[in-house]
C-alpha cells in the first residue's frame, strides 16, 4: 500500500509491454479500450489517488475500464456485485472504510461516474499504490462477506507474456468482480492479449456468435457454462487454442466433448479451494488428477496434497493465510478443503463437497457423482440433481435434464430412456425418483449450477 512515484497497477503493467498505441486491450460489442486510451483513464484515476474506492458496475466492460483507471492509483478497491441491495452495499462499504463509490448505474446516491471525474494534474506525477482488492462473496445465505486480497495474491498466477500472446483473444465470461474473473482479466491484460467482454443481457447464443466473429482463442468457464456454450451452433466456429474449466468438477463427459469439438485446443481444468486460498491445474485432459500427487513429498503448483478419510487436505505454498473461523488446519499447515476425493486405478477423482451428500433411506448419495453419470448420456446437455422430501425415505432425488438441442426428442421417451440408463448405471438409492425434462437449468452469477436451498 506504500506510495511510490510513477505509474503502477494494471495500466503500468500494460504500458511496460510497449504495445502499439492502437492495440485493442478490451473489446465489447460496441466499444473498445486501446492503449492510447490508457492515458486519459490514468488522469481520471489520479483524481482519487490514495483513496479507498468501491466499484459497482452493471456492465463488466465499464468495470474493467474503471479497474484500468484506478488500480495502482488508489489504496483499496472494493468490487461490489451490482445486484446487491443498496443497504448491503452501504454496510459493506462502511465496514471496509470505503470513501467513494464509482458506478455506471443511475440509481445510486452520492456516486461518482468515471468520465465525470474532474481532470487531475499530470497523471505521471501521481503516486503509485499497491492497491488492495476487496472482493465480495455471494454467500448463498445471509449477508455477503468481503474478502481482502493483497495485489500480489490476485496477480500471483499470471504467467508472463510469451511469443504470440498479443494475438490471443480471451473471453471474459466470469464476472470481473469475482476471483475467477480477476484471474482472466489479469492474465489477458498483462500479456498484451485482447479481452473480449460480452454485454450484459446477451443470450448464450449471441455471446458465442460474437466471440466467433471476434476470433476468440481463449475461454475460461465453469463446466456448467461450457455445457451451455456447446449448445450454441456457432460454438463450432470458435478458433480455440486454450480451454480452461474451473469452479466445479470437470467430468470426463465434458472434457471428452471439448476434446472432440476442439482437437487443437489445450484443455486445462483448475482445482481451487476457497478454504486453502489456492489450487492446482490438471493438463492431461482427464477428470481428476494423478493419485501420486497425493503422496508425501509431492508438490503440485507449489501446493502439497493429502487424502484423509476421503477428504482432500491441501498445504498452500508460501506463508500461511490468516485463519478464518471455519478453516481446519493441522500442525503442518495442511487445510481441510471439504472436497471428497476417491482413488480408482491410479487416478484421484473429485466426488463433490462434503455438504452435498443426500441421505436416501440411510444411504449416502453424492449428488455430483450422480450428475456426472447422467451427463455421460448422449442425449443430455445439462442436468441437475435436487432433493425431494420423502416421508418414507427422508429424501429422494429429482433429476432435471436439458436435452441436447441438435437431436429431436420425444419427452416421454427421453424420460424413460434416461430412467433405464440410471437403472443400469446407478445403485437403487442414487436413482432419481422423478425425472423432469426442462428447457434450462439456472446457473448462478458465479457460473455454477445453482444449488442454493436445493439440498
Amino acid at each position: 500500500m506504500r506510495a511510490q512515484a510513477g505509474i503502477g497497477g494494471l495500466a503500468g503493467g500494460i504500458l511496460a509491454l510497449d504495445l502499439p498505441e492502437d492495440h485493442v486491450l478490451v473489446r465489447a460489442p460496441d466499444k473498445v479500450v486501446r492503449v492510447s486510451d490508457l492515458r486519459l483513464l490514468l488522469t481520471l484515476g489520479a483524481v482519487l489517488s490514495g483513496a479507498s474506492v468501491a466499484l459497482c458496475f452493471t456492465e463488466p466492460f465499464d468495470l474493467v475500464r474503471a479497474l484500468l483507471a484506478l488500480d495502482g492509483r488508489v489504496a483499496a478497491l472494493m468490487l461490489l456485485a451490482p445486484d446487491l441491495p443498496a443497504d448491503v452495499k452501504r454496510t459493506l462499504m462502511r465496514e471496509a472504510g470505503m470513501e467513494h463509490i464509482v458506478t455506471d448505474r443511475a440509481d445510486m446516491e452520492d456516486a461518482l461516474t468515471l468520465d465525470a471525474l474532474p481532470d487531475a494534474a499530470d497523471a505521471a506525477e501521481a503516486d503509485s499504490f499497491d492497491t488492495r482488492w476487496l472482493l465480495t462473496t455471494s454467500g448463498t445465505t445471509g449477508t455477503p462477506k468481503c474478502v481482502a486480497h493483497e495485489r500480489a495474491s490476485i496477480f500471483r498466477a499470471v504467467k508472463a507474456e510469451q511469443a504470440g500472446s498479443r494475438d490471443h483473444r480471451w473471453a471474459m465470461l466470469y464476472d470481473p468482480g469475482r476471483f475467477a474473473g480477476t484471474q482472466v482479466l489479469a492474465q489477458a491484460l498483462l500479456t498484451g492479449a485482447t479481452l473480449l467482454i460480452p454485454r450484459v443481457g446477451m443470450t448464450t447464443g449471441d455471446i458465442v456468435d460474437w466471440l466467433s466473429e471476434e476470433g476468440c482463442t481463449h475461454i475460461s468457464a465453469t463446466p456448467s457454462l461450457w455445457r451451455r456454450l456447446l449448445m450454441a451452433p456457432a460454438a463450432l466456429r470458435l478458433p480455440l487454442k486454450q480451454i480452461t474449466l474451473g469452479g466445479e468438477i470437470a467430468d470426463d463427459a465434458i472434457l471428452a466433448a471439448l476434446k472432440a469439438r476442439y482437437p487443437k485446443a489445450r484443455i486445462t481444468h483448475i482445482y481451487a479451494s476457497t478454504e486453502a486460498g489456492t489450487g492446482f491445474a490438471v493438463r492431461d485432459g482427464k477428470a481428476g488428477f494423478p493419485a501420486e500427487w497425493l503422496e508425501r513429498g509431492a508438490v503440485v503448483d507449489g501446493a502439497r496434497l493429502s487424502l484423509r478419510d476421503g477428504v482432500l487436505w491441501l498445504c498452500p505454498p508460501g506463508a500461511a493465510m490468516s485463519a478464518a473461523a471455519h478453516i481446519v488446519r493441522d500442525t503442518e499447515g495442511f487445510i481441510r478443503t471439504g472436497d471428497r476425493v476417491s482413488i480408482e486405478d491410479g487416478r484421484a477423482r473429485f466426488l463433490g463437497r462434503e455438504d452435498s451428500t443426500l441421505n436416501v433411506g440411510g444411504v449416502k448419495v453424492q449428488v455430483e457423482a450422480v450428475e456426472e453419470i447422467v451427463h455421460a448420456h448422449p442425449a443430455v446437455a445439462q442436468c441437475r440433481i435436487t432433493a425431494k422430501p420423502s416421508a418414507m425415505m427422508g429424501t429422494l432425488l429429482t433429476l432435471s435434464v436439458v436435452p441436447r438441442a441438435d437431436q429431436a426428442h420425444d419427452v416421454a421417451m427421453l424420460r424413460q430412456e434416461i430412467a433405464q440408463y440410471c437403472k443400469a448405471h446407478l445403485p437403487p438409492a442414487a436413482r432419481p425418483a422423478t425425472i423432469r425434462i426442462v428447457a434450462e437449468i439456472p446457473v448462478s452469477a458465479a457460473g455454477k449450477t445453482e444449488r442454493a436451498g436445493q439440498l
Binding site: P389, S390, A391, Q416
Partner: protein
Amino acid sequence: MNQMLSQFPQADQPLILSEDELRARITSMFNEMWREDREDEPPVLENDTVLLETGFDSMAFAVLVARLDDELGFDPFTMVEEPVYPQTFAEFVTFYAQCAPKPV
C-alpha cells in the same frame, strides 16, 4: 422445445380430481412403474390388496409417491403431522382423496 414440453405439463398447480379419478391415476402410475422394472403383468389393485404384498418395496412406494406428487401437485405424506401408514390399496387411495385439493 417449449412446444414439446407443453404436451407434458408438470404439475405446478394441484389438479382437482374425484376419488375415482385419483384411483385411476394412482393405478396407472403403479402400472407404469411396474412395467419399467419387470416383464410380467402388474397385479390388479383391489380395495383389499395389501400394498407390501404387491411386490413393491418401500423404496418403490416412495418413488410412486414422488411421481404422483409431480403429476398431481401434492404429496399427502408430507402434508400430515402424524405419520400415516396405509396398508391396503383402498386406504392409500382414501388418504390421497382426504388430502387432495378441494374445489374452492
